[in-house]
């Protein structure tokens, strides 16, 4: 057990919540995921989920208050799983209020909703949203939103 614990790694990156930072965020997570053993389509799914999650935060959480940041934490257990946590201090949103993507509705209508959220859930094994979390640790914001995504090898 001890040797396995030693292989775990935790890394963090904070980016400005801007679209021009999306590839930086994806590349950061992809590099860690690849080192943990993810490859090919699995790696693409992780990259896609991070891309969609950051896009949602930029587009919705910080829609009224641009200039915010996204804190990305990656916990990797090589050969087992990766846990990606995204923290923002923007406006919370209700995932239940986002229309569930329906491919049938796209046949005759270009207005498609909930695509990013749908892809995140399909790409990852577990996706959990927490809103208005109260910060308790030193250096933590008073209130933040936390998205946790898990992918198993």
């Amino acid at each position: 057990m001890c040797s396995r614990r030693l292989t775990h790694s935790d890394r963090s990156l904070t980016i400005p919540a801007r679209f021009d930072q999306l590839q930086r965020a994806s590349a950061f997570v992809s590099e860690i995921a690849a080192a943990a053993g993810f490859q090919g389509l699995q790696l693409n799914r992780i990259e896609l989920a991070v891309d969609e999650a950051c896009s949602n935060i930029i587009e919705h959480a910080y829609a009224q208050t641009p200039g915010g940041e996204i804190h990305i934490h990656v916990h990797a257990e090589p050969g087992h799983r990766i846990v990606i946590t995204l923290i923002d201090t923007g406006e919370p949103f209700d995932p239940q209020a986002v229309p569930v993507h329906d491919p049938q509705s796209c046949l005759d209508d270009s207005k498609v909703g909930g695509l990013g959220l749908f892809l995140m859930r399909r790409a990852m094994d577990d996706v959990q949203f927490e809103f208005n979390v109260k910060g308790v640790g030193l250096g933590q914001p008073k209130r933040f939103n936390r998205l946790t995504m898990v992918k198993y090898l």
């Binding site: 590839q23 090919g40 796209c106 498609v112 749908f118 892809l119």
Partner: protein, 122 residues
């Protein structure tokens, strides 16, 4: 390492068909290039747009939305958008959201061009 998108456009005037070749990544930061190319193709009056994705390495929901809007606009004018040559990571994203049943997708550019010629009446 920041990758980008390259869009090249080719018009086949005798067939009223535009071919768009996408290379790189189609995400929120690069969609404007495809939007411009689609608008140009539609302004040219071409009824059918064939989009060759053989060199597209990555697509996100932003890219999917632009393709869907392009298809919708083309169909309003009695035209069509055909896709071809999806690489596995891109095809998987289409499959995840059920877009393989929404778009007409061909394995090769040749097959797409045959269908485009028939659809454009050329």
């Amino acid at each position: 390492m920041i990758a980008s998108l390259n869009v090249t456009s080719q018009r086949l005037e005798n067939q009223s068909v535009t071919i768009l070749r996408l290379a790189g990544r189609l995400d929120a930061t690069t969609i404007s290039q495809l939007e411009r190319a689609l608008t140009d193709a539609q302004l040219s009056g071409d009824r059918v747009i064939v989009i060759d994705l053989s060199d597209l390495a990555y697509i996100s929901s932003s890219g999917l939305r632009v393709l869907l809007t392009g298809r919708s606009n083309a169909r309003k004018r009695g035209g069509e958008v055909f896709l071809c040559s999806l690489r596995p990571p891109v095809r998987e994203v289409f499959e995840m959201v059920g877009f393989t049943a929404v778009f007409t997708i061909f394995d090769t550019l040749e097959q797409a061009m045959e269908a485009a010629a028939a659809a454009s009446g050329g």
